[in-house]
């Protein structure tokens, strides 16, 4: 059972990489960009048939390793 996980910086955390990407987009003429925030994407393939149990496993993975909850949020979906 596969899940996709998105990890993003919390709104109050400065994202200089996102800002640099935003400036670069502006520089190549894509001027409609208001803001860019950069994040991380993971695919977890879980050896489990019960979706609830698999979701619990993904949640634990997010909270224990994939995110630092001081600065990041996460969300995930079954794919």
């Amino acid at each position: 059972m596969k899940f996709e996980v998105f990890v993003t910086l919390k709104d109050e955390v400065l994202d200089p990489q996102g800002k640099a990407v935003e400036n670069a987009l502006n520089n190549i003429g894509l001027k409609s960009i208001k803001q860019v925030r950069q994040g991380k994407y993971f695919v977890l393939d879980i050896d489990e048939n019960d979706e609830n149990k698999a979701s619990e496993f993904v949640k634990a993975s997010c909270e224990k390793l994939l995110t630092n909850q001081t600065i990041e949020n996460y969300k995930f979906n079954k794919i």
């Binding site: 400065l14 390793l65 994939l66 630092n68 001081t70």
Partner: protein
């Protein structure tokens, strides 16, 4: 006094720390991260470097390694624990210290001597410094931008956990003297009990005038005091 220096894959200041500790007659053992038990010691050092190639987040993989369970126990029992640079990142990732270290504000790796103000000399690591002393210690990092939310910043200020702040030659603490964008110009903090310190500057790189400076010596001298 006895110390353990933890060696992770990618640590590169581990031997420098050993040389610095031994200069002050601190008997030092190198401990590989896959070990399960720490040799008995008064002090544990998490050295600088790029543990696990900085994969995922700096220090995140190292914070989950075998030996860290015993390092956490050592600290919870009141043992001294120092995290330098990558070691500081590991300490925030284990939640032994509050906050997190983000990418430097200007996205550049910075390697230079900086001025620091000693904000708190009432800790086992800084007792030989004078309060508000202006010292010079080098930094070398890409992710040293200290971040914590407002509530945490209030807490660490009221508990006097801030030990070092970035400043200039005249001891001004402002945006110009902040190399990496850290909240409140923070360069180093302790835990509430003051037995754990995390700092981005490298004291082990300045314990000999021959190497450009010796202001880092007082950290080690404070410990053996």
């Amino acid at each position: 006094m006895k110390a353990n220096v933890i060696v992770f894959p990618g640590s590169n200041c581990d031997r420098d720390v050993k040389v610095a500790l031994e200069k002050f007659q601190i008997q030092t053992t190198m401990v590989w991260h896959q070990e399960n038990t720490l040799p008995k010691a008064d002090l544990v050092v998490l050295p600088g470097g790029f543990s696990y190639g900085d994969y995922l987040r700096c220090g995140s993989m190292a914070s989950k390694s075998n030996i860290m369970k015993d390092v956490i126990k050592h600290a919870e029992n009141g043992g001294y624990l120092i995290g330098i640079c990558n070691g500081f990142q590991i300490l925030t990732e284990t939640n032994l210290l509050p906050g997190a270290l983000l990418r430097n504000k200007k996205l550049k790796f910075i390697c230079k001597y900086v001025n620091l103000i000693v904000e708190n000399n009432n800790t086992p690591f800084t007792s030989k410094y004078k309060k508000k002393e202006n010292i010079k210690i080098p930094i070398a990092h890409n992710e040293g931008n200290y971040f914590a939310d407002e509530k945490t910043l209030d807490e660490i200020q009221s508990n006097e956990q801030i030990v070092f702040k970035y400043c200039d030659e005249q001891s001004n603490i402002n945006e110009e003297s902040n190399p990496n964008g850290s909240c409140l110009n923070i360069a180093g903090i302790t835990n509430k009990n003051k037995n754990i310190i995390g700092m981005m500057p490298h004291p082990e790189r300045c314990v000999e005038e021959l190497l450009g400076g010796s202001h880092g010596s007082l950290i080690f001298q404070s410990l053996i005091n």
